[in-house]
C-alpha cells in the first residue's frame, strides 16, 4: 500500500515514535507493519537512530519551553524545584498528547493534567 491511506498510517507511526521516550523501537516495530508499502519501510530503515532520538528530545524540549512561556506558575515551579518540575513534565509529556503549539493552550492542558492527577507544585 503506497496510497494516501498508507501515508496516514505511516504518519501515525512517526507521531507515536517522536512523542515517546525512545523513538527507535517504534520505528523498528513500524517496519513490521504489513500495511506499509516496501518504499515506506525502506524510508523508516534509513533513519539515523541518534538523529531520531535527538528529534524526539527536541520535540519535548520545545514543549517544555512552550509551557514555561505560557505559564508563569510553571516557570516559578521550575525555578524553585527544577528536578521536581522536570519529573512532572516528563510524566505530562508521556501522558498528554501535544495538541497545540500555543503557550497558553499548553498551560491549560498542563493545569488540567495536574488537577486530574491531584499534583500540586512544590511550595516555596
Amino acid at each position: 500500500m503506497d496510497s494516501p491511506e498508507a501515508h496516514r498510517r505511516f504518519e501515525v507511526w512517526i507521531a507515536d515514535a517522536l512523542v515517546s521516550r525512545d523513538p527507535v523501537p517504534l520505528f523498528e516495530k513500524a517496519r513490521e507493519d504489513p500495511d506499509l508499502a516496501p518504499a515506506l519501510k525502506e524510508a523508516l530503515a534509513a533513519a539515523d537512530p541518534d538523529g531520531l532520538r535527538l528529534t524526539a528530545l527536541l520535540v519535548a524540549k520545545l514543549r517544555f519551553e512552550r509551557l514555561v512561556r505560557g505559564s508563569s506558575n510553571a516557570g516559578e515551579w521550575f525555578d524553585r524545584d527544577p528536578r521536581g518540575f522536570t519529573e512532572a513534565f516528563r510524566r505530562y509529556h508521556a501522558e498528554v498528547v501535544p495538541t497545540t503549539s500555543e503557550p497558553r493552550a499548553e498551560k491549560r492542558l498542563f493545569e488540567a493534567w495536574l488537577a486530574e492527577r491531584g499534583i500540586q507544585a512544590a511550595g516555596p
Binding site: 501515508h7 496516514r8 504518519e11 501515525v12 512517526i14 524510508a43 539515523d48 541518534d50 520535540v59 495538541t99
Partner: protein, 290 residues
C-alpha cells in the same frame, strides 16, 4: 539586484537592540507569521503585539516583508482539514496586512496525526508525499502568488540525502513555486548525516531558488544521547560559519532567479556585543551577492 534581509523575532529586547541595523542595513524583513498571532483552542487567530510592532517598523521604513512560516505543516496527511483551513485564514489576514513579497514554509511536517511536534520532521520521498506538498503550496498560492518551501534541517532522513534534490524537483512542478535554499540547514545535514554539500548542490535545480538563508548554530551536549554523540544543531544562535560563507559564495552566482538573501538569528541570542557582528555579517552578505 539581490536584496539583503534580516529576521524579525517576537522579542522586544531583540527588536530594540537591532533597530538601527533593521532601519539602516536590511532591505527587507522576514517575518514568521505565526509569531504575530494569538490563538486559543479552536478560536480564530487574532493579531498580537508583534503584529503591530512589525507593521509599524514596515510603515516607518517603507521596507517590504517576506514570510517564512513554520505552522502550515506542508507534509501532513492525517488530518481533517479544519486546522489547515484556520491556518490559511490567518495567512490571508497576514497577507492583507503585510503584503508579503513571497511566502515560504519548511519542507516536512510540524503536525503529525494531530500532534504538534512543532519542528519540521522529514517526509518519505515518495510521489504521494510530493503531491501532498504540491497541494498545500497550491492552496497557499491562492493567497500569495509566489510560494515555496525551505530545505529543512533534519537530524534523520527517510531516504538518501543525495536523493533530496530530485524529490524537491517533483514538488516544484507548478509555476511560481520556489525553493528557499537554507545553506546552514544544508551544512548541518551534511555534517550530521555524512554527505557532501557540494554534491547535493550539484543535483539541485538552482533556477528554482528564490531566496537563500544564512545563519549559524551550535552543538548538542554529549549527555543528550545515549551514544554521547554530538550533533550540530540548527539553532541560529551563533555567527555564520566559514563553511556556510563558502557555500554562499559558490552558490549565489549560480541562482539566476535569486531575489533575496536573509540572515537569520534566534531571539534570546543577541546581546549588545553581537550587534556589530551582525552588521558585519549583513555587509558580508551584500558584498557577496551585490
Amino acid at each position: 539586484m539581490v536584496l539583503v534581509g534580516f529576521t524579525l523575532q517576537p522579542e522586544r529586547e531583540y527588536c530594540g537592540l537591532l533597530e538601527p541595523l533593521l532601519v539602516e542595513d536590511a532591505d527587507y524583513f522576514e517575518v514568521t507569521p505565526e509569531t504575530t498571532w494569538v490563538r486559543d483552542g479552536d478560536e480564530l487567530f487574532r493579531p498580537n503585539g508583534f503584529w503591530r510592532l512589525f507593521r509599524e517598523l514596515g510603515e516607518r521604513t517603507g521596507k517590504p516583508f517576506i514570510a517564512h512560516g513554520v505552522g502550515l505543516s506542508l507534509g501532513t496527511f492525517a488530518e481533517d482539514g479544519a486546522r489547515l483551513a484556520r491556518c490559511l485564514e490567518a495567512i490571508r489576514m497576514s497577507q492583507e496586512a503585510f503584503r508579503f513579497l513571497w511566502y515560504t514554509d519548511h519542507l516536512g511536517a510540524t503536525v503529525l496525526d494531530g500532534r504538534a511536534v512543532t519542528i519540521p520532521v522529514p517526509l518519505p520521498m515518495t510521489s504521494e508525499a510530493a503531491a501532498a506538498v504540491r497541494d498545500r503550496l497550491g492552496a497557499l498560492q491562492e493567497i500569495v502568488p509566489d510560494v515555496g518551501f525551505e530545505n529543512s534541517a533534519f537530524y534523520y532522513l527517510l531516504g538518501k540525502p543525495l536523493e533530496e534534490p530530485a524529490f524537491f524537483g517533483r514538488i516544484l512542478e507548478r509555476p511560481r513555486t520556489h525553493l528557499l535554499l537554507d545553506l546552514h540547514n544544508l551544512f548541518t545535514n551534511a555534517v550530521n548525516l555524512g554527505f557532501d554539500a557540494e554534491a547535493w548542490l550539484e543535483r539541485l535545480d538552482l533556477t528554482r531558488v528564490i531566496e537563500i538563508h544564512v545563519s549559524g548554530g551550535s552543538a548538542s551536549e554529549p549527555e543528550w544521547l545515549p551514544s554521547r554523540r554530538v550533533m550540530r544543531l540548527d539553532s541560529h544562535d551563533a555567527p555564520v560559519p566559514e563553511e556556510v560563507w563558502r557555500l554562499l559564495e559558490r552558490t549565489a552566482p549560480r541562482c539566476p532567479n535569486l531575489r533575496g538573501v536573509t540572515l537569520e538569528r534566534m531571539e534570546g541570542t543577541v546581546g549588545e556585543g553581537d550587534v556589530p557582528l551582525l552588521r558585519e555579517e549583513l555587509a558580508r552578505v551584500r558584498r557577496t551577492v551585490g
